[in-house]
Every structure is written in C-alpha cells, then in structure tokens.
C-alpha cells in the first residue's frame, strides 16, 4: 500500500515536471528552437485532452455496465477526424483567418460580432463544463483515496489542493501574456507529455492484464466470452445517438476547440492528426474490455468498476504499475482541467468581463491604464472562478452520480452549439436571431430535461415536478417531454433539445434579416476557401492613428504595437510610427487585436475610436446619402473639369497663336531690317556716287537723286505705317467725324488703290448710305483691302466684288476676290501685326496693313473680319451708321 504522503510527493514531483516542461517549451519556442514542439506530433497529442479521467477510469466502468457501448464515445471523434477534409479543415481555416480565440468568439464573430451571442455561448459552456471539471476533481480524489487507502483524512481536501494547484499552473502558463495568436506552447507541450503518460499508463495496465493475468490474447478472448458481459444488448438509438453526440461534442467542447483550432499552428498538422488521433483513441480503448473482464473476475479489485484500472494492479501487489496508472489518471484529469480553464477563461474575459468593462464607461478604450492588465486579470479571476465552480459543484453534488453519466450530460449541453457552429461555416443564411433562438431553446430544454434532473429528484427540481410535471402538467415532465416516454434520458434530452435548437435556428434565420456585418462575416467564413474572399469592411476612417497606437500598445504591449505600426507606415511609404489610419489598416488591426482579446472586444474597442460601432441600416442609409452627395459633387466636378479643359484648350490655342506670332515677328523683324536696309543701302551707295562722282552727267545725277528720293519715301512710308499703328494701338489717334456717303468713300478708295486695269471691280448693293464716321480713316481701310486683293488674288483675271448691305445700325461691306483665299490656319493671324498670309516677300508690304485696319475699325466702333467660305479671300467690314462721339474714345 502506498502512503498518502508518498502519493502527494509523487503528484508534486509530477506537477513540477510539468512546470519544467512547459517553461522549457515556452523558452524554446520563443527562441525559435525546437521545431518539433510546434509540429504535428505535439498537435495530435494535444488533442488527447478529449480523453479525460472519465475515459481513463470511467470507460472500464462503462464497459462493465453496458458492454461495448463505451466505444461510441471514441467512434464519434474518429469519424470527425477521418472526415477532416469536410469539416475540420474549414473550421481551422476560418479560425486562423479570423483570428478566432474560442468557440464563443467564432459564434459571436460570425453572427455580426454579437456580444450577446458570445456571452450566451460562454454561459452555456461554463454551465456545461463545470460538472465535467467536478468530475475530474472527483476522479482524482477517488483514485487518491483508493490507492492511499483509508489513511487519508478528508478526500475533499485533496480535490481542493488539486484545484488550487491546477489554478496556479494554468494562471502561470495560460495568462503569462496576451499572445497575438492566443497560443500557449508551454501548456500544449505539457499536455502532450500528459497524453503520452496516460497512454503509456493505460497500455501498461492493459498489457499487464492481457499477458500476466489473462493468458494472452486468446485467453482474454475466452475470458470475455465467458464473462458477465459476454453478451451485450444495445438499443440502436443509443448507439447511433451516442456516436453522434460524441462526434458533435468533439467539435463543440471549448477545450477541444482550443487545441483543435486556436492552438493550431499549421493547417497541415490536421492531415497528420486525421489518422494519428484515431489511432490514439484506438489504443486508448483497446484494453478497456479486457481490464473490465479481468477486474470482474478478481475478488480483490473491489466493487467500483470505475476504478478497475487502479485496483486491478493494486490487488496483485503491483505498486509501481498502480502508481503509473494513478499518474495516468492524474494526467488525464489535469490536462483536461487546464485546457478547459484556459478556454473558459478566455471566453469569460473576452465575452463577458471586458464588454461589461467597456460598457461601464464611455471611451474606455481611450482611458489611461493598461487594458492588458484588465484582460489578464479578468482571465486569472476567470480561471480561479471556473475551478472554484467545479470544486463547488463537486462538493454540492457529493460526487454521487456515476462518472460517465455526468460526462454525457455535459456533452448534450455543449452540443447545443453545433447548429450555430455548422451554420456559421456552411450556411450563409444563418443569422444572429436564428442562432440566438436556437441556442436559447436548446439550452433551456437541455437544462430542463437533463441538467436539472441530474441533481436527483428533490435536488434542484422538486420530486413532484420530476414525477408529474410542473403544476401537474404531465406533458411537461422533464424526463418525458410531450409524452415521449420510455426513451433513455440522455437520448430523450438530446432529441428534444437539438430538434428545438435546429428548428429555432433555421426558422429564426429564415424569417429574420441579417445586419450588414453578419452578412459580411458570413460570406467571409462560408467562402473562406475562395481566394480573395476576405471582404473589406468599411470603417469610417475618422480615427486618429495616434489614438490607435495608444490603444494597441495597451493591449499588445509597446514594442509589438510600435513594430506593427512602423511596418504599416513603411508599407504606406511613410517614415516613423504613425501610418495613415486607412480602413484597410484599421481592419487588419482589429484582426490582430481579436487574436488577443476576441473579435467582439476588439471590434468594440476599435469602434469606440472610430465612432462607428455598428454598421446599422441607418448608417448604411447615411452612407447611401453620402454616396449620392458624392455623386452629385463628382458631377459638378466633372462639369468644372469640362470647363477647365475648355479653358485649357483656349489657352493652348492662344499659346499656339503666340508661338506662331513670335515666330512671325522674328521673321518680320529680320525682314523689316532687311527692308530698311535695302533702301538704306541704295540711298547710301547713290549718295556716295553723287558725292564722289564729279563727272556725272546732270541727267544721271537727277536719276540718282530720284532713286534716293524714292527710297527715302519708301522708308518714310514704312515708318509712317509703324507710327500709325502704334498711335492707333495706344488710343492716341484723333478722329475727325464727318457725314459722308459710303459710295463716295468707296470711289475714292478704289481710285486711290491704283488698281485700274489690274483688278476688275464689281460693286453691288445700296451704296448710297450716309455715314457719320471718319471718312479718311475708313477710306484707308478700304484702300488697304483693295490693294491686298490686287496683290494676293492669284487668278488669271482677278476680280473683286464689293457688296454692301445694311444690318441693324451698321452697314456691312464685303470684299470678296476670286483668288485662292487664305488657309484656315492663317486666318486667325492675318490681323496680327507683322503677319502676312503666305509669308512671301512678293507682296512687298510690311504686313502691317490689316493690323492697322483692325485698329482703325475698332476706333470707328465697327470691325473687320475675315469671311471664310466665299471662294476667295473675303473681308467683311462692319461700319456703324453713326460712330460714337469721340468723347468715348478719349475716356477710354
């Protein structure tokens, strides 16, 4: 018989070993060493927390009571894992892509980051898990008292010590820091070690039973055949129901979700676990029936089949084996409690405590103080709370019920999450309302039909209610709801609660309409395998990135937050730590934060900063209005930009004109200097001849003097033109208004142009118009036009048609020749100074004529324009019948 003290010492040593392993693993992972620590083997072993003390001890008892039925508890998870490609892979992918921290987080984040749903799932999980934790404490206590004999004082105190020890371990390794991915390499490694210990222990006992006591496989086979459980009867409903139940629970249990999804480091680990974990389960259950049969046949094994794993080796005096077996059971219990406590604490802090804390005051996310500390403290107290609840449950219930029964009750409770969970990843139509109704109904029915009655008639429910229904309403009896009698209680509860749950979920989803956030999350999760399925959410980006940095620092710690911000700033091409708070960045940030504090909390905290906590229909409508305004604005912008481009076009034209002019001006300057130079040269040379040539004949002298005179006159004319133009342009011209008939002015002009014989002139229209204008200036304009026609009209018989008509208060005089006209690109330039249509020197003029004409007409209050499309060159001169008094000119 082992002493209690020795046992306590062994337990302490074992726990110390776990501490060392966990600590070493954390250090190695942090330093990037020990890749196998994060490999598929550890991942698979960590899944073994499914096998709790219930499995370790209870399976044998279960086999004694119901034959092979115990195996259903393992067949379910086996089916789930070998079907990993269909369900688990998607679950893991969703969990990783959305940074899910717990099953409550998944449900809440899928259904619109709903705080209420997260809290509901958390409460459900706590209520369903508490009995399970109690079960572990009970099994440790029981095994302790069995192995240490009756010399232990109070078995209850052992469970208290165990609970406290587990709380310390979990707090130390589970809440050391807020990891951005919520992964705990230390704990996972420790539970992997525990997985090995319990497997080795059970296999050792099994092999011992088979080969030392049972006479080998054949012997055991014979013993089973002749044992009390040689024949077994099972209801097909219970067999199939329990298999389904265990499969569903495997997916829904918070601790399983923690190791399956949250602690998963690489999706490919799942491929290994897909066959390795079923193999582990197979090994764990292989020797259950042999141990049961041998235990039944051994008088010293005691009468509690739940403890055969311990009592069989003990009765044979195998102290070491019994010790190993005890450690195996201890491992099973502790690993389950540790992970369950972490999972529940994460859920409680993320979905109950922090949301309440955030709600307790406005702008909590911005208040000074360390949010991390709040979250961590919430977790630590949650761990203590969870373990305290388990301990209380154990004390209150007195550990009366058979172990397996409590396990199944828990399973049925936790399985209520299944419809919402499957809906979350496979059905985009699932809504928050539906999930809430389904979960609520299922939870209520589970509590009524299974959980409350499990305390025994007269426990919580009065005996009368259990037997006859509340207020004597028979069809509401907890164990025969709607008159469904004769069914196994677990099946009965499973059937009704899941039926109501699924019906409520589906009906509620079909009827209700999801919020935009739900629809986005639904699409992101259901279509997680489609590339680019990550829909961008919209966040009003009125957030200051410095505020964001302050908040993130308080959650992730300064260095990590600053590194993140710096990386983002670099990505945006900025220096320093403050990137622009673009919607994309805010969204990424929220995802990072949700890895630490859960999607709901992260969303709420970001929302407090962005002032856009919920995307409501109102917000959508506002967005719609904004869009309309933006569209209107953009239409206005478009109009403005049209105008701008028109202006730009005009500017471009003007610029082109200027450039052309400048070129022409340069050409003209060189030409005018040439033209000034030519007469000057001849004047100078003839003047020299006259000066030096004493023997010149008078006739020659006269001729040379005449040439000098003509050249000087030409120079004068040129200079006169230039002077005239500059006077006209500067507005210093003096006009002499007089009344005169148009035909007389025209006669004079045609005569003065000196075109007799060279140009045929046709005159049409009513020319007998009296004008009040400056007749000399007007004649100058006409002369210029007529002379131009003679110079440029290149026709065999040049003709000029002058037609006159009145229009309004003005008379229009058109001059149309039969030449080639002026090319379009030159039309805009001909009225400019120094310009000549063809740039030839043949014309002999300086290119000032039309410029002078335009200036004169402007002074006279009329205009001169080129008239395109008339066959030849055509000018229209518009002369007002009465020119404005010269005072206006002076005033200008």
């Amino acid at each position: 018989m082992l002493t209690a003290n020795f046992l306590v010492g062994a337990c302490l040593a074992y726990v110390a070993l776990l501490f060392v392993v966990a600590f070493a693993a954390e250090r190695m992972t942090a330093q990037g060493r020990g890749e196998w620590l994060t490999g598929p083997v550890i991942y698979t072993l960590s899944l073994s927390i499914y096998c709790t003390a219930w499995t370790f001890y209870g399976a044998v008892g279960y086999a004694v009571r119901s034959g092979l039925e115990f195996v259903t508890i393992y067949l379910g998870p086996t089916l789930v894992l070998i079907g990993w490609w269909a369900v688990l892979r998607k679950l893991v992918r969703v969990g990783r892509s959305q940074r899910i921290t717990s099953i409550a987080d998944l449900i809440s984040s899928r259904y619109g980051k709903s705080t209420a749903l997260g809290a509901l799932v958390t409460i459900l999980a706590v209520v369903a898990t508490t009995p399970y934790i109690a079960l572990q404490l009970q099994s440790v206590t029981l095994s302790f008292s069995v192995i240490a004999g009756s010399d232990s004082d109070d078995p209850g105190s052992i469970s208290l010590i165990v609970a406290i020890g587990l709380a310390v371990f979990t707090i130390v390794f589970g809440t050391r820091n807020l990891d951005v991915n919520e992964r705990h390499s230390g704990i996972v490694t420790a539970i992997a070690l525990e997985a090995v210990v319990k497997l080795v222990a059970l296999l050792a006992v099994g092999l011992y039973v088979v080969f030392a006591l049972g006479g080998g496989p054949a012997g055991i086979f014979a013993r089973i055949e002749s044992s009390p459980i040689a024949e077994w009867q099972v209801s097909s409903g219970r067999w199939i129901g329990l298999t389904f139940l265990s499969a569903a629970a495997f997916l829904c249990l918070p601790r399983m979700f923690q190791v399956l999804v949250v602690e998963n480091r690489d999706e490919r680990h799942l491929a290994t676990a897909a066959w390795a974990f079923p193999a582990y389960l197979l090994a764990m259950s292989l020797f259950v029936v042999p141990i049961a049969v041998v235990g039944l046949g051994l008088p010293g094994a005691g009468d509690n089949p739940d403890l055969f794993v311990l009592t069989v080796p003990l009765s044979q005096g195998e102290g070491g084996l019994a010790m190993l077996s005890f450690l195996g059971g201890f491992s099973s219990a502790t690993s389950m409690v540790i992970v369950a406590a972490i999972a529940l604490a994460t859920m409680m802090s993320n979905h109950i405590v922090v949301p309440l804390w955030l709600r307790s005051g406005p702008q909590r996310a911005m208040m000074s103080g360390d949010v991390r500390r709040v979250v961590l403290m919430a977790r630590r107290f949650s761990i203590i709370g969870v373990l305290a609840l388990g301990y209380l449950y154990y004390r209150v219930s007195g550990g009366g019920a058979a172990l397996a029964a409590i396990g199944l009750i828990s399973f049925v409770g936790i399985v209520q999450i299944l419809p919402a969970l499957m809906g979350a990843i496979f059905w985009r139509g699932g809504t928050r309302t539906g999930a809430g109704i389904g979960l609520g109904l299922g939870f209520a029915l589970w509590a009524w039909t299974l959980f409350l009655p499990s305390f025994g008639a007269g426990g919580i429910l009065p005996a009368g209610v259990v037997a006859e229904g509340p207020w004597g309403i028979g069809w509401l009896r907890p164990e025969a709801l709607f008159g469904l009698e004769g069914l196994d209680p677990v099946l009965h509860a499973l059937l009704w609660s899941l039926l109501a749950n699924v019906a409520g979920f589906v009906a509620g989803s079909l009827v209700s309409f999801p919020a935009p956030m739900e629809r986005m999350q639904g699409a992101a999760m259901v279509n997680v395998f489609r590339s680019g399925a990550a829909l961008s959410s919209w966040q009003p980006s009125r957030v200051d990135s410095e505020d964001l940095l302050i908040m993130v620092q308080r959650i992730l710690g300064p260095s990590e937050a600053q590194a993140m911000f710096q990386a983002e700033a670099a990505r945006q091409g900025k220096q320093g730590y403050l990137p622009d708070a673009t919607p994309g960045f805010v969204e990424r940030l929220e995802k990072e934060l949700s890895g630490s504090v859960g999607a709901t909390t992260a969303h709420a905290m970001i929302a407090q900063l962005t002032e856009g906590s919920v995307v409501s229909v109102e917000e959508l409508m506002r967005v719609g209005e904004e869009t309309a305004q933006i569209m209107e604005y953009s239409a206005r912008l478009e109009a403005q930009s049209d105008e701008l481009s028109r202006t730009a076009r005009q500017l471009r034209d003007a610029n082109a004109k200027l450039t052309a002019l400048s070129i022409q001006k340069d050409a003209f300057l060189s030409q005018i200097s040439h033209e000034l130079r030519t007469p000057m040269t001849s004047i100078r040379s003839f003047a020299e001849i006259l000066r030096d040539g004493d023997g010149l004949a008078p006739r020659e002298r006269a001729r040379f003097s005449g040439i000098i005179h003509d050249e000087a006159a030409r120079l004068t004319r040129l200079l006169d033109d230039l002077l005239d133009l500059s006077v006209l342009e500067s507005g210093q011209v003096t006009l002499h208004p007089a009344s005169e008939r148009l035909d007389r002015i025209l006669d004079r002009a045609v005569a003065a142009a000196g075109v007799e014989g060279a140009l045929r002139i046709r005159r049409r229209g009513a020319e007998h118009v009296h004008l009040v204008t400056d007749p000399d200036r007007l004649a100058q304009v006409f002369i210029n036009i007529v002379a131009n026609a003679r110079k440029y009209a290149e026709a065999t018989t040049p003709e000029l048609t002058i037609s006159v008509r009145q229009e309004g208060g003005a008379v229009l005089v058109d001059f149309i020749d039969n030449g080639d006209g002026i090319p379009a690109e030159a039309q805009s330039l001909i009225f400019e100074k120094f310009s000549r249509a063809d740039n030839t020197e043949a014309a002999g003029g300086a290119g000032l004529g039309l410029a002078i004409c335009r200036e004169i007409m402007a002074r006279l209050g009329g205009s001169i324009d080129y008239l395109p499309g008339q066959g030849g060159a055509a000018f229209r001169v518009r002369v007002p019948l009465r020119m404005a008094p010269p005072r206006a000119e002076a005033a200008e």
Binding site: G67, L68, V71, L75, T78, L79, V80, L81, I82, G83, W84, W85, A86, R89, R93, F221, I224, E225, S227, I229, A230, E231, W232, Q233, V234, S235, S236, W239, I240, T243, E267, R268, L270, A271, T272, A274, W275, A276, P278, A279, L282, L286, V289, F529, R530, S531
Partner: protein
C-alpha cells in the same frame, strides 16, 4: 459575385486530386455505416458476442486509420489544402511558365 466558370475538363492530375477529396469526404460516411453494423446484431433479443463484435469494431477502426492515413498523406501534399486549379498534388515544382531565356543583349 459569380465564381469563374470552370472548364468542363481538367487535367488528369487535378481530376485525381478532386476524386481524392471526394474520397476523403466520404470516408466518414463509410465509417459510420460500418460502425453501425454491429447494432443490427446486438439489437436481437439474445444480444451479440462482445468479443466478436469488439474484434470487428477494432478491425474497422484500424482500417479507417490506415485509409485516412493514405488519403491525408496524398491530400496534404506540398500544395497545401485549397482546392482549385492552382492546387496540384505534385511533388515536383511546377514547370516555369516560360522557359528562362538568355538575357538579350542591349542595344
């Protein structure tokens, strides 16, 4: 948002991989059926032999583990999980889209 139209024919490797996925999805169904078989016997009034049924169950279990091992090894190939035209369950690196050409001389 309509998914891009898939071609009616995919190449042989991809076809094989798709059927592997089908097998992986159907394996649990097969397992469920096989696991449910003993119930038919055990439901009889005289019950069934625990030892024989147990042997059957463990044999099926072991078989499933083996098949799941083979399938997951094939599925968790180097290309990882996502189904689609880009997922090729091939150990060889995919051939480069264009053969590397010698750098052309610059003018």
């Amino acid at each position: 948002m309509t998914p891009p139209a898939e071609p009616p024919f995919v190449d042989r490797r991809l076809y094989r991989r798709r059927r592997l996925m089908d097998a992986a999805r159907l394996l649990p169904v097969l397992g469920a059926v096989l696991f449910a078989l003993p119930v038919l016997n055990a439901a009889a009034p005289e019950g069934a032999s625990t030892a024989r049924t147990g042997l059957f169950l463990f044999a099926v279990w072991g078989g499933l583990v083996l098949v799941a091992g083979v399938l997951s090894r094939a599925l968790a190939g180097p290309e990882g999980a996502p189904p689609g035209p880009q997922a090729a369950p091939d150990d060889r690196p995919p051939p480069p889209a264009t053969a590397p050409r010698p750098a052309e001389p610059r003018c």
